[in-house]
Structures are given as C-alpha cells and as structure tokens.
Symmetry: C2
Subunit: 199 residues, 2 copies
DNA sequence: TCCAAAACAGGTCAATCGTCCTGTTTATAA
DNA sequence: TTATAAACAGGACGATTGACCTGTTTTGGA
C-alpha cells in the first residue's frame, strides 16, 4: 500500500532548533535590532505561524538564543577547554590560539557572541542583561576556579579571570572593527606575559 | 520702537550641535538601531525639516557622531591624558582611575562609546567600520607612541597599546552588563602589573 | 531695498516592523 | 476510530520606521 505523499511532517524539536540556529547566526552577524523576525522566518524557511508558535515574541527568541546557544558556545570554546587544560595559563593560551586559527581560516570576524549581544541589549532590557551577565559569570568562574586550584599566592583568581575575559572580548571587538586577527594575536602575546607559571 | 516678536531665530551651528549632542547621547545609551530619527527629533526639540536639513540620512548623522563626537571623546579621555602623563604606564593608570571614579559617581555604566558603536555597526556598513577603525587606531597610536618614546627594549609598543585598548573596551563591556565598576577595577589592577616600570 | 539662498516648519509617504489571527494538518491517547 | 491538543500555514494588523516634500521664514550680500 503506497503511502499518501504527506505534505508536512511535524518536527517541533527540529524546527525549534533550526529557528534558534538561524536566529543565533543572524543576531551575531547583524545584531539583534538589525535582524527582523521576517529575516529569521525567511532564512530558516519557516512560516510566520510556525515561528510564532515556537517563539511568541522576539524577546522570547532572544532569551532562548542567549540561554541555549550563546551560553553553549562559551561552554564549548572556553569553559570545557580551560577545565581540561593542565593549567589555567595553558588553557587560556590554547583558546586564544584556537580562536585565531579559526578566524584566520574563515573570512570574517564576527566578534564575541556574548559581548556582541551584551553591548546591544544590556541597557535595553533587564532580563537580557541578567541572562548575559550569567553567561559572563560562568565564563569568568570557570577560569577563576582553575586559577584557584593552582593555589598561587601571587594570583588574585577573580581579578585575573575578569581580566582575561575582558581582554578577549575587547580583542575580538578590535578584530571585528579591523577585520583582521592581528589585535587578537597582540593580546594573546601580551596576556601570556601576564599569566603565572610561564613554561 | 518695539521690536516685532520674532517667531524664530536661525542658528544653524547651534542647532546642528544640539542634534549631534542628543544623537551621540542616544546612540550610546540605546544603540544606533534602537534609536529612531523621531526619537532624536523629539529629544532635541527640533522639527523634521530641520533635522533633515542638517542630516539628510540617519547614516550621515551616525558618521558625524563618530567623527565629531566619539572621536573627540577618545581624544579627551585617552589621547590627551596619555600624552600629558610622565609615562605611558602612569597615563594609563590615571585614565582607568578617572573612568572608575566618574562611573561610580554616575548611576549607570553606558560602556565605551567607540566599542558600543563598533560592535553594532562594523559589519553593517563599510563606511561606519572604517570610521570606527580610525578612532581605534588613533587611540592605540597615542599609547604606542608614548611607549615608543620610552625606548624600553622589553616592550612591544604596538602590541601593548592594542592590549590596553582591548582590555579597557572589554572591561567597560563587562561593567555595562554587570552595572558595576568592579570589572574595571579588576582590570586596572591586573593591567598595572603588566605595565613596564612600576613606580 | 530687493532677492537668492540657506534655514527651518510641519506633515506625508511607502516600506517594514513585531505581533497576532483564523484555519488546516498532524500527532497522540483513549 | 475518534477526540483533543499540538504543530504549522498564510496572511492581516496597526504602529513605527527613515526619507523627503512643499511651503514659509530668516539671513546676508548686491
């Protein structure tokens, strides 16, 4: 018995994931306000009904992007590598090197996903600010914890972790404006001198 | 003879300056895309005709804000103080300290004006990117030149200057998201250790 | 005094924004 | 099978956006 050619197959999780992926991509490359719901609709290939079904408002979509995409990116590119490294300094160096290599390979520098949204949305909405603050905090905490484990009395773990996060975010902002990884390389070099236990 | 009560007094330069001031303020606190021409019109107390007469497009207004306001802010808060300081390290420390004091006094942290616009506009428009790149360059050059004057063989002036600019921008982004100057203080402390000739 | 250009007033315009509506199809459990 | 809710289609909605237009007033040089 031949199956009637179904016109549609419901896949709520897959659709939701596709919308989130596209939204995260567009929010990073164009910014939140410069990306319209229609853009996301067209780019993801979904109808307005489907988009509204999964995310009733643009803010809900933005919050989901932060909590389910941006946070995960920070976990993957920073938190896990730092935890897995044999020392904080080693982990930080590795992440910088990896970032530079990845961006050199790709054409464009889009900047730091957390920082991009943080700057555009922190003052616009309290919920956005809190969510982004949480991402920064987790990022910083992972580095601080690694530094704490090393029990180096010359090191202030919290301050140094904040310093690393700030420098990375700033370096990517400069690289974005310059469309070149040179600023990141300069910061990686200078930061290496400021990190403990050179080896 | 009593003067006829004139309904209007033309003051093109004053009006232009007022529009630029308001636009710079709104672009910094709300962002470029989140600020409408109507917002600027209302906030500056000018008519649509006057606004359009001085700035035909929003982009033209944005470019003028970058070149005539943001650039000037960087000159005043960074370039001049660094040039006037007895050493680069001393100048950098002074600017950080001044920024912290100013922000602690004020309620809100709006972030770095250059960085705010750079992140939102660098990928959106080539002219914006170039203009903002120029501001970053002037900022960095001033610090690099001061470092070069000191002829310290252990210091790479360009790299260290980039490092300082990145750290400052990133620190203000963190402070903006946290609405607290703590990240800037942490960065100032860590940066001081990385600067040459501690005194 | 006269006149051309600049400065400004006040509103219109199509396009686009985010939201939401009604209807249809698909999946799920009884 | 049947009922019920979730998933999705496709557009409509009023509000707002940036641009710009015509008309009036002011200004400064001839």
């Amino acid at each position: 018995m031949a199956k009637r050619p179904s016109k549609r197959t419901n896949d709520p999780e897959g659709l939701r994931r596709r919308i989130l992926d596209i939204a995260a991509e567009l929010f990073q490359s164009r910014g939140y306000h410069a990306t319209s719901m229609h853009d996301i609709q067209a780019e993801a290939g979904v109808t307005g009904g489907a988009l509204h079904h999964h995310f009733a408002t643009k803010k809900a979509l933005g919050m989901a992007v932060i909590k389910e995409r941006v946070f995960r990116q920070v976990e993957e590119t920073w938190i896990q590598p730092v935890q897995a490294a044999k020392s904080a300094a080693e982990g930080i160096r590795t992440v910088f090197k990896g970032t530079i290599a990845e961006l050199d390979q790709r054409g464009r520098v889009l900047g730091c996903p957390v920082n991009n949204l943080a700057i555009e949305l922190s003052l616009a909405d309290a919920d956005f600010r809190q969510a982004l603050h949480g991402v920064f905090q987790a990022w910083r905490d992972a580095i601080a914890q690694k530094l704490r484990d090393e029990r180096n009395k010359d090191v202030d773990p919290e301050a140094l972790a904040t310093f690393v996060v700030a420098t990375f975010s700033g370096a990517l902002a400069l690289a974005k404006t310059e469309q070149d990884t040179a600023p990141i390389r300069a910061c990686a070099k200078q930061l290496a001198q400021a990190l403990p236990i050179r080896r």
